[in-house]
Symmetry: C2
Subunit: 465 residues, 2 copies
């Protein structure tokens, strides 16, 4: 009895502890989920709107069932195709929804036509041959379409359509319907798919539309800005440089926030897939807002590629600065500190100009000025390394300075490439001249053609030196 009495509270206590533990875990999980949901919504409030839009579109289409008994009798089970279409094609952006809708519509039409055709042909054969004939044609069409889905161009834009084509052909061919039913079914299915598609596109466009083109436009500008933020961080750090050129090591200890600003560019490195999917969606979108009918979306991809090239160089530079245990004598450090800062600053200014120009859809008239200044300063830095240092400097002390200078020079030419691709974008999109375009201090700056940035830079070498 004693032992039982001793065990019982122990058992009850154990159960109670377990229940409390589980309850705690559940409360924690709910709390965590709530926090994550809040973060998701805060990161992009359009996500909440999108969720409501999906619900609304489904309800709207399902009205086909409820309030229209004659239509319901007419559609029968096929009315569910409208609901299914909405669920499957409703995407975040208008372009993606439209693309999927058009794909589904055309694929249903083609698939339905071929399915009905195969069915009609099969009916001319004997009763025994008919299923074999139908099976073979489904097999053939499914195999060929599946193979076509591997083609990169078709995959990018018509992957969903090819899938729906296989689906429609299979469903119509093998459904076992009688020949006279098939045409009706194909017709009703196509009609309900069109209703579902139209409802999705309508709600997607009317209520707070999300344009993939606009997202791509903003992403391109934001990515360029991220590189600018890196250079701003480098500049402000260089100006407070005290002991040696281990840029980020001392940074690491002193200021976490500033270090984070130097890591912002990392997301640019892997932006390709996102940009391509946005561009694919954007190509489906009609003229809207500030975008002309034929927006050069491929040029955005080129700007993105140039931006990534620059980000690769920045990655190499920042990796070099973090990893290498370079020590630099005060004499050299003081001498290269100013030109390095100037180059960082000019690159940053140029990139900010380019990013702002894309955002405002104006020509980046002053970006070239900064690029040429950066080029001029890097030439100065080179000649400084050649002549400006005392002859008894140890060669090995120059290596870090030389490497940083070379990489910065590389980055300057990458920045020039970004500028060129943005200028081409401005040309193709017919961006306006900015309202606040002041006459350039040198005068002939603005009328120089795009390709002559080297000449401009030469002009500047004379000016600066």
């Amino acid at each position: 009895m004693d032992t039982e009495n001793q065990q019982k509270p122990g058992f009850v206590e154990n159960v109670w502890t377990w229940v409390k533990g589980v309850a705690n875990k559940i409360v924690n999980a709910v709390f965590c989920a709530q926090k994550e949901a809040k973060k998701l919504a805060k990161d992009d409030p359009r996500r909440v709107v999108h969720s409501f839009k999906v619900g609304l579109a489904i309800i709207l289409v399902s009205l086909l069932y409820y309030f229209d008994d004659p239509i319901y009798d007419g559609f029968g089970v096929s009315a569910m195709w409208a609901v299914m279409t909405v669920v499957v094609i409703f995407e975040f952006s208008v372009g993606a929804t439209l693309g999927k809708g058009v794909n589904r519509g055309i694929a249903s039409l083609l698939g339905g036509a071929l399915g009905v055709g195969a069915h009609r042909l099969a009916s001319f054969t004997g009763n025994k041959v008919e299923p074999i004939f139908l099976g073979l044609s489904v097999f053939l069409m499914a195999a060929v379409s599946s193979f076509l889905r591997f083609h990169p161009l078709l995959k990018a834009r018509y992957d969903y359509g090819l899938m729906i084509f296989i689906l429609t052909v299979s469903l119509i061919c093998v459904s076992g319907y009688r020949d006279d039913e098939v045409l009706d079914i194909a017709y009703i299915r196509l009609f309900t798919v069109l209703i579902g598609g139209a409802a999705s596109v309508f709600i997607c466009v009317v209520i707070r539309p999300v344009w993939a083109g606009e997202d791509l436009h903003n992403l391109t500008a934001a990515n360029i800005e991220k590189l600018a933020i890196f250079f701003q961080g480098t500049t402000s750090f260089l100006s407070s440089l005290q002991h040696n050129l281990e840029f980020f090591k001392s940074f690491d200890e002193s200021n976490e926030e500033k270090k984070a600003s130097l890591d912002v560019y990392k997301s640019v490195l892997n932006s390709k897939a996102n940009e391509e999917s946005l561009a694919n969606s954007a190509k489906w979108e009609p003229r809207h807002g500030k975008f002309r009918y034929r927006q050069p979306w491929d040029q955005y991809l080129k700007v993105g590629a140039a931006t990534r090239e620059c980000a690769y160089r920045i990655e190499a530079l920042s990796g070099y600065l973090i990893n290498s245990e370079m020590q630099m004598p005060a004499e050299i450090r003081e001498k290269i500190q100013e030109p390095c800062m100037k180059i960082s600053k000019e690159c940053s200014c140029a990139l900010v100009e380019l990013s702002a120009a894309i955002k405002k859809m104006t020509q980046a008239t002053r970006a070239d000025l900064h690029v040429s200044k950066a080029k001029a300063v890097s030439k100065n830095l080179k000649s400084l390394l050649k002549t400006g240092l005392s002859p008894d400097t140890d060669l090995v002390d120059i290596i870090p300075a030389a490497t940083v200078a070379s990489l910065l020079l590389e980055i300057v030419s990458c920045t020039a490439q970004i500028a060129d691709s943005v200028h081409e974008l401005a040309l193709l999109s017919k961006y306006k001249c900015p309202d606040d375009a002041r006459p350039s201090p040198i005068g002939n700056e603005k009328i120089l053609p795009r390709t002559s940035s080297i000449e401009v830079s030469r002009n500047f070498v004379i000016t600066v030196v």
Copy 2:
């Protein structure tokens, strides 16, 4: 009459030319399509097999309609869900098919249960409130699920399941069926989905299965090999270096094929999305062939990230070599040519070892040897730049050599990182020791722990110097 006679042959000729032109275009298009199809099939012959597998699976499932009249009567229109499931979930790799199948199965089960539950609840309310109650619950569930699809973790693995959940709930709730029908329909739908899923997975696994895990494994090894190819190209080029260090410029004119081998690494830069999707699929795959049950797929992603880091540095190096108009005096060139070649060769050897080790699933015992050799040579190169050059060398002549040396040093440490991540992969996957592991020439090389590569490198400095 005369003018008409003169015009008529002209018109006929025009039509003939037009017809010939169109016919030519069609023939050309067919020829092109044939060529592209051949290329697609040649690039990866598994694509052809996959297409046949899709056709076969559809035919297999559609037998439900043809040869089993009692079952056909039982399933009715619901049999089409089996066909639809096959078309929608049949993916290239086993993992992707299994993932989509499991997603679809569980989502159909959950969605069906919740749909039936909502239907039952609604039947307790009045006739007028019922559609409003059902509509509201569909709206709520659709909105919440749509929102959840934005969560990165859910998006990666359960995006398709969440979509099917919305689909099933909507179809069951708003279908307008009577309460007693709904349970039957939900049951039959789930059953047919399971049949379709099982057929897809069966055919996917039985006929020439494509394992996403194996693809990821091979891709990881191939990407490391691509970097090795770059260094092999650099080495062979450096050994034939005659005039200056404009590596790729003279290359450009002399040997297109070799230049192409130097561009092979570029595909590594953007491999992240592909690797992540393969890893996501691989996580669904069961034990098979040479892979244990819990293969560390995330470690493959880490190896991939290290490989990309190295590729970024290579991009910076190759960009520097292409763009900079550096001239190097013969004296310096001759001196740095050999160490640069050695570093390239050692890096290449190390990467080849690592790639081969992954391929064979053995430990890369000899890769560290090459990495330490490369580290030793790069230290030698540094000290050569410090002391080995004549004191009257122009500083500016050293800049290119210093930059190349610094970047190569960076690349060596990246290679060491790749080696470390591959060693961790070998540890986690329990790779065997290679059969041909010869005792190391230095003896203590192999028993040193992973982290002591710096010590090893010091050993080597002594050996080499």
